[in-house]
Symmetry: C2
Subunit: 257 residues, 2 copies
């Protein structure tokens, strides 16, 4: 992991960055049982954090989010959606960045000096299929792994609040558009789909009602049961009808018609 190329952009020359602003990425995955958050562990410290970084003076903030996530986790996502900017004066007081005695490199010390100034942070959210990602830690971290959203370890600064806000956004989104396209594998059972909704909403849903409502909205396609030995018990598999799904995302599933 001590590969220089693997250090984040601007490492050793923080003058390339817009001052005052950082970016933190909340990447949410679903392992068919619960929601997972992608986290980095700071090298040689028992401290976890969201993949984050700074905006270069010559790049759009949205571009920066994509670059930062890739530099820090190896994961390239074309679409990260900004969801909130965190700007409290004391947002970094809860769990401060530790003194990094072990790391004596000058570049790292310069980076630490830069991040000691106040900055606000824009949160970016992405929903991914865990099975399609192979996260890799950057040179500042010794782990990059998925952690259950309901059992997060101690996080840097206000990162716990940032995750909570992202989850809140996802919960609110479920009220007016379908959710799941990028979180589920191509084919899934109705039970897996319902579990996803239940995990997002943090409550149980009635099985019959859920299935009826979802099918009525027309964004699910039912496939043949997989014929195995116990075929009569095999559940139907579903996939998303991309066209109809995107229509509903765009127009919203509202109570106004």
């Amino acid at each position: 992991m001590n590969n220089k190329k693997h250090y984040p952009s601007g490492f050793g020359d923080t003058s390339v960055f817009l001052p005052g602003v950082s970016i933190d990425c909340v990447v949410i995955g679903f392992d068919l049982k619960q929601l997972q958050i992608l986290l980095l562990k700071l090298k040689e410290h028992d401290l976890w954090m969201l993949p984050g970084g700074f905006i270069r003076l010559d790049e759009d903030m949205d571009q920066a989010a994509t670059r930062i996530l890739e530099e820090r986790t190896g994961i390239k996502l074309p679409y990260l959606k900004q969801f909130h900017t965190f700007g409290d004066v004391n947002r970094r007081d809860k769990t401060k960045f530790p003194e990094v005695k072990q790391i004596q490199e000058d570049d790292f010390i310069r980076l630490i000096a830069f991040i000691e100034q106040r900055f606000i942070s824009s949160g970016y959210l992405s929903l991914v299929d865990i099975r399609s990602c192979a996260p890799t830690p950057d040179a500042l971290s010794d782990q990059c792994t998925w952690q259950a959203a309901k059992k997060l370890p101690q996080l840097l600064y206000d990162h716990k609040e940032i995750v909570e806000k992202a989850m809140e956004q996802l919960r609110s989104r479920i009220n007016y558009m379908p959710v799941g396209y990028s979180l589920l594998p191509e084919k899934f059972t109705m039970k897996e789909f319902q579990t996803l909704y239940e995990q997002i909403l943090s409550r149980s849903l009635d099985r019959g009602n859920f299935q009826k409502k979802m099918l009525k909205l027309g964004f699910l396609e039912r496939h043949e049961k997989q014929l195995t030995g116990g075929a009569h018990k095999a559940p139907y598999l579903y996939s998303f009808n991309e066209k109809r799904y995107n229509e509903l995302v765009k127009q919203g599933i509202g109570y106004i018609s």
Copy 2:
């Protein structure tokens, strides 16, 4: 209007500000016919802008929004909601800040130098009852007035895009929560309420359906008709049931039950 006290905070000493970030406030009002946006006209220039400013190093971003709006328009709103942060590199290239030849004051020149650096901008949204506000321009502006959202004049930087994003958020909000509490007077007719929804959605709604749906949600209270000469034609007046309205804002009016 040339009252020094009326200049925005930090005018003449930009070192009190967090670099790299500004705030722009989109205040939306409703005159019972159409949506209106609160705008400032730059002194001695034919250029309009959203009330905006910078974050002091010692204040939370949310506090800054409230302070900036009050300093620039005289309007004190307890609740401004951050809705999006605008971070494109070229966001200020469309309609640049003009050369301000007429204004020779040193403080103003320093402020201009500060705003020539790149900054991203966090948009804050507030919905207000126009009748309850008396906007007053600050010393940098010679007008502070409401302008129809559908016929905006030329705006500074990307402010038109900021207004559009705010309108988009309001449209999306209408899909899963009641809207109108702070936009309408205490009592209003069903027609006025429907007009508000139609203006937000930019389309007509069926009168019968609209009324039925809204009444069913239980957040409206019907009052007696006002007995005037033409009493038989007078429409019912409604007001919001605050408790039920807030419940629905909190839980969302979703398609999932």
